[in-house]
């Protein structure tokens, strides 16, 4: 990461409180209480999430890990208010998502949540710049001078300045992913959810993207929750949640890729 960005970022930490997320800083950004998500009935009944209790606090970079079909994507969908729960309570940015209607949930996503998906992150008909500004446009508010400088800074740091007026189809996978990161960071949401953000990238672009996410968390105080099954990706996080068969089976601090690998293999072997 460029030293310039570090300096600028540190200088900006003071302005991070200007986010619309106004509740107490000690309160978790995401809070799940006895959350279950059940698909199907009878013998076809599958509990994607089974009585999960977890809090995600401000400013951390959390990785949510687990084998395929463990329920980690469902975890993210539910935490982000994209999907309904079968039972339990989800609080997101101080609001009871489980009790909100579709419109209220949409408005909450608009102002408090940023998304980075594995692929197809960008609206194909909008340029990179328009994609980054979309959250502001949707909220119907003008980009303030200060926010404008912030976006310009992000675009410059992410190396997108020259490609800013291009359509997504004219960008490489890594560039598209960086535009998605810029969009997620631009409005300073309470939390950014990233779903396998490096799943479609080569190893160099992957490293870049993961370093960016870690920097955003450490230096901008940006809360990030990343779903991944890649031990290398998860090793960039400072908290690792492990989900298996709909249960939260592990809650760890930072680990090396090797340790994470061993941890996961342990679950696979244990399950067999």
């Amino acid at each position: 990461m460029s030293p310039m960005w570090r300096a600028a970022a540190l200088g900006r930490l003071g302005t991070m409180t200007s986010t619309t997320f106004q509740h107490s800083p000690t309160q978790p950004v995401v809070s799940m209480r006895r959350v279950s998500k059940i698909y199907g009935e009878g013998t076809g009944r599958v509990a994607a999430l089974d009585e999960i209790d977890v809090d995600i606090h401000r400013g951390g970079f959390t990785a949510i890990m687990g084998p395929s079909g463990s329920g980690k994507s469902t975890f993210m969908n539910v935490a982000a208010g994209l999907d309904d729960v079968t039972s339990g309570e989800v609080m997101l940015a101080g609001q009871p998502v489980t009790h909100l209607g579709d419109d209220a949930r949409t408005l909450l996503r608009r102002s408090e949540v940023g998304f980075i998906f594995q692929a197809f992150n960008l609206v194909p008909t909008l340029s990179a710049h328009e994609n980054i500004l979309l959250p502001f446009e949707l909220a119907g508010r003008r980009v303030s001078a200060e926010e404008g400088r912030w976006i310009e800074h992000l675009v410059g740091t992410l190396g997108l300045a020259e490609r800013i007026s291009h359509r997504p189809s004219e960008l490489s996978g890594g560039q598209q992913q960086r535009v998605a990161i810029a969009r997620a960071l631009a409005s300073r949401p309470a939390i950014i959810f990233a779903d396998e953000p490096t799943g479609n990238l080569d190893s160099r672009s992957s490293r870049e993207v993961l370093t960016l996410l870690r920097t955003a968390a450490r230096e901008y105080g940006q809360t990030i929750a990343m779903v991944s099954h890649d031990p290398v990706a998860a090793s960039y996080a400072d908290r690792i949640l492990v989900i298996a068969d709909g249960h939260l089976v592990g809650d760890h601090g930072p680990l090396t890729p090797q340790e994470i690998s061993d941890l996961l293999i342990g679950f696979e072997v244990g399950a067999a």
């Binding site: 994507s73 969908n77 982000a80 994209l82 999907d83 579709d102 419109d103 949409t106 408005l107 996503r109 608009r110 102002s111 998304f115 998906f117 594995q118 692929a119 197809f120 992150n121 960008l122 609206v123 194909p124 008909t125 909008l126 328009e130 979309l134 959250p135 446009e137 949707l138 909220a139 119907g140 997504p168 189809s169 996978g173 779903d195 799943g199 479609n200």
Partner: protein
């Protein structure tokens, strides 16, 4: 069995429903015109006249126009289906299908579906005509005679419709050739139009046709002041020339019209995305609206021409009896002409509705993304409606303007010598009718897709295999 099964290339036959519907409409229309002219021929032979023959020729021209619009609509429908299945087609190519085989299979299925639609339409149209004939005979409006139950021309119509559907299938499936097998492995699920080379020759021909044709049309209107016969001939040549120019150059003209008109939609995100989608692929925009432009232009031309003629006649000095007779003749002729010509507009509207529905199905993932980023259901709905407004309003306005110019110039070239100055044909009734039809079209073409679009859950955007 050569080449892959059609279901592999095109998915369910439901996706080809438009092809069947359009072929059916063409078939029913052709059957009504052919059987009507056959009945009139029988009738005039009984009373010694040649109305039937003349009608036969006129019917042929109108059927060809309907068939042309139908072909344009089918090309667009097939292209839309194909562009929504590019990844699937890429997979077939990866597994070893040749592009040519895939296209042949598309052609076979459009011919089959078109043929079935044509048979259904022709049978329905023939039955309908005979039913009306029997009622009219029973009421003594038509004389008793030996009316033929069918006509050889019905077979000709069937062959023509099936052939058109086949040719349209071939042209509509050009997209297949641009699919690289490697695309099956890539992660991009978004529809990106292939870059189209702009042909200089096409632009040149279109320019010559439009400019030259309009000049000749103007000349016809001027000459009509002194020599009606020569004037009308010139106007006809001019209209045909500029019309052909617009057809050749539609892909240059129509996207610009849509861009200009849709800029009034607004600056909010749903308007911006709607406008961009309406213009995403200039060729698709052209195809989905060209039929409408032609249909509306034809209807307006006749309505405007007849209204200009009528204006002229009212300025002449006629005794009341003559005036009443002339009025009645014009009223009846106008209604019959518009009824005959309106079918092209209806066929075009069917095509438009199906294109709108299909593009929304294909944009599931993009809509899911918009929802997860904070588009409310209302904004998604308004986005779909605005896209439909941008496209249909442009087609209707452009078609109506063309029609008024053609109709007025045509009438002027015919009766300019007997009327002072230029009489603009402003068929208020017909224009109001077209505007109402346009609003209905927007509602019909956006309701179902919009409902489908708001049902898309934000989770849709996260699916990897969309």
């Amino acid at each position: 069995m050569t080449g892959p099964n059609r279901n592999l290339t095109l998915g369910s036959l439901r996706e080809l429903g438009t092809v069947g519907l359009v072929a059916g409409l063409c078939g029913a229309y052709a059957a009504v015109l052919i059987m009507t002219s056959s009945i009139l021929t029988t009738m005039s032979e009984a009373s010694g006249g040649s109305v039937g023959l003349l009608l036969g020729i006129v019917a042929g021209v109108f059927i060809l126009i309907a068939l042309y619009v139908g072909t344009v609509v089918i090309v667009g429908a097939v292209d839309t289906v194909i562009s929504g299945r590019l990844r699937h087609i890429a997979l077939l190519r990866l597994l070893g299908s040749r592009g040519r085989e895939l296209r042949t299979s598309v052609m076979r299925s459009t011919a089959a579906v078109g043929g079935m639609g044509a048979v259904a339409g022709i049978v329905l149209g023939t039955l309908l005509t005979h039913l009306v004939r029997m009622v009219l005979v029973a009421r003594d409006t038509l004389p008793e005679a030996e009316y033929a139950l069918g006509d050889v021309q019905l077979v000709v119509a069937f062959v023509a419709i099936t052939l058109s559907a086949m040719i349209a299938g071939w042209f509509g499936s050009r997209g297949i050739l641009r699919v690289s097998p490697a695309a099956a492995l890539a992660g991009t699920a978004a529809y990106t139009p292939a870059p189209h080379r702009t042909s200089v020759i096409r632009a040149l021909l279109a320019g010559i046709g439009i400019v030259g044709g309009l000049a000749v049309l103007l000349l016809g209107a001027v000459v009509g002041e002194s020599n009606p016969g020569a004037g009308f001939l010139l106007a006809f040549v001019g209209a045909a020339g500029s019309g052909t120019g617009f057809l050749i150059g539609a892909r240059f003209v129509i996207p610009r019209v849509v861009a200009t008109l849709s800029s009034v939609l607004g600056r909010d995100p749903s308007s911006v995305v709607a406008r961009r989608n309406a213009l995403l692929d200039p060729l698709r925009t052209t195809r989905s609206t060209m039929g409408l432009v032609i249909g509306v232009a034809l209807v307006t031309t006749f309505a405007s021409g007849m209204s200009a003629l009528r204006e002229s006649i009212t300025s002449w000095e006629l005794d009341p009896a003559q005036r009443a007779q002339a009025d009645q003749v014009y009223e009846v002729t106008t209604i019959i002409l518009i009824c005959i010509i309106v079918i092209s507009a209806i066929i075009a509207a069917v095509g438009f509705v199906s294109t709108m529905s299909l593009t929304v199905i294909q944009r599931h993932r993009e809509i899911g993304l918009l929802r997860s980023l904070g588009f409310t259901r209302r904004q998604v709905r308004s986005m779909i409606t605005k896209e439909s407004v941008a496209l249909s309003a442009s087609a209707v306005v452009f078609g109506a303007v063309l029609g008024i110019v053609y109709g007025t110039a045509g009438a002027q070239s015919l009766v300019g010598a007997e009327t002072a100055g230029l009489v603009w044909g402003m068929p208020v009734g017909a224009l109001v009718g077209i505007a109402v039809a346009g609003v209905v079209l927007v509602l019909v073409s956006s309701q179902r897709p919009a409902r489908r679009a708001v049902a898309v859950s934000p989770v849709e955007a996260l699916r990897i295999d969309a």
